[in-house]
Symmetry: C2
Subunit: 75 residues, 2 copies
């Protein structure tokens, strides 16, 4: 799998989890101390996030980091 595809899948996964909690990008961004624009960029898969970024999001969404990586290579 291309790294680009992975980024996109992670972004999509974050979006799904965020929406399932019924919160806006603005909400989630605020909890994580991100700017909403930056979260939008992340959900669009336009960056290669660090583990700390994913960690903050996982905490805010009350899931594990692994839950953000639903898409996997060796399952």
């Amino acid at each position: 799998m291309e790294i680009n595809q992975l980024q996109i899948k992670i972004g999509e996964r974050i979006r799904v989890l965020r929406e399932s909690k019924g919160i806006t990008q603005q909400n989630l961004a605020a909890i994580c101390n991100f700017e909403k624009a930056n979260l939008s960029r992340l959900e669009a898969g336009r960056t290669n996030p660090t583990i700390s970024t994913l960690y903050k999001i996982s905490q805010a969404l009350e899931v594990s980091i692994s839950d953000l990586l639903d898409v996997e290579s060796y399952n």
Copy 2:
């Protein structure tokens, strides 16, 4: 959990998985197209890796990225 602690745990986990495959840092680094010095830095938890870095390692170790994140927040 501190982000620093997370980095250290991930580094330790990578080391354990690498050693369980019986390969050296040099080997793994070569497969991933890293310099051995950079892999050493990563295993020491002295960086905040991107998902693409973790992905390359997971592929080389034939595990999922989640397997590198054994330590979790919301389990």
